[in-house]
């Protein structure tokens, strides 16, 4: 099976794309799938609150935030926008021909409400589980 490089993108790479990347790595058993994440804007360091809530749900998000780069786009085969505030049009144009883009319309969390944060994490987990199933099927 050919390798698949998957890039999760959100606005700041502080939470949503980080959760998707970490959860994908946690549940994926297929070594042919590689994942990275990045943000349209390189965000400030991760929020300890969001890190804590993710940890409670078994997901460890860590490391510095990362901005998007042409290098990453050359690397990726599938870009997954884990955000409702990142326009797909950014990834259109001749420089992106032949690349697959999927959009999960996940809202950002602006408050420190545990329930809101958990809802977003659950939605990302659900989408990630479905994605892995689809990738396995397409093998």
């Amino acid at each position: 099976m050919t390798k698949k490089n998957i890039l999760f993108v959100c606005k700041f790479n502080r939470f949503r794309s980080k959760v998707a990347e970490a959860y994908f790595k946690k549940i994926n058993k297929n070594k042919n799938f590689n994942v990275k994440s990045a943000g349209l804007i390189k965000g400030s360091p991760l929020s300890p609150f969001q890190k804590g809530v993710a940890r409670e749900m078994g997901i460890s998000i860590s490391g510095p935030t990362r901005g998007l780069s042409t290098k990453l786009f050359i690397w990726q085969d599938i870009t997954i926008i884990v955000a409702n505030d990142v326009p797909v049009s950014i990834f259109c144009g001749s420089r992106f021909d032949g690349k697959k883009i999927i959009r999960w319309k996940i809202p950002d969390v602006f408050n420190e409400d545990k329930n809101d944060t958990k809802k977003v994490i659950s939605a990302i987990m659900e989408n990630t589980q479905f994605l892995i199933k689809q990738l396995e099927k397409a093998k």
Partner: protein, 137 residues
């Protein structure tokens, strides 16, 4: 006052705007920098750099990303691109004044005429901006 010029890759449009602004601006209290939504390849396109030089515009160094910590310090964000949606900069985390100059990108196969017309358009916009800022002083 801090002005931040943005385009898609920070390889040409926002760099031309930044460099030309810094060349023409005489007010030390106004500073300009630039960044790209997707950090573009480096080295820069030699032909683009040379043509910009004809206008006294120097573009050097690697493209830069847009960092949240830089963005929050800006007073004015100018999108020098027709392919970077304004709504990227609408955020509850920072509320900044955003202006869009709808300038198309340049591509490796573009002829000199296209490159010159893009530079001329950016120069015109920057000149107007400087005049306006001078008046507002």
């Amino acid at each position: 006052m801090k002005i931040f010029f943005v385009c898609k890759y920070n390889r040409f449009r926002s760099r031309v705007a930044e460099s030309y602004f810094n060349l023409k601006n005489k007010t030390k209290k106004i500073t300009a920098s630039s960044g790209g939504v997707i950090v573009g390849r480096y080295p820069l396109n030699e032909r683009e750099v040379k043509i910009a030089e004809e206008y006294g515009i120097k573009i050097t160094g690697p493209p830069k990303e847009i960092r949240f910590e830089d963005l929050v310090r800006q007073d004015l964000i100018i999108v020098v691109a027709n392919d970077v949606p304004r709504k990227i900069f609408n955020s509850k985390r920072f509320e900044k004044k955003v202006i869009v100059w709808s300038i198309p990108d340049v591509y490796p196969g573009d002829n000199k005429g296209i490159l010159r017309s893009r530079i001329a358009e950016i120069k015109k916009r920057v000149d107007k901006l400087i005049k306006r800022l001078e008046k507002e002083k």
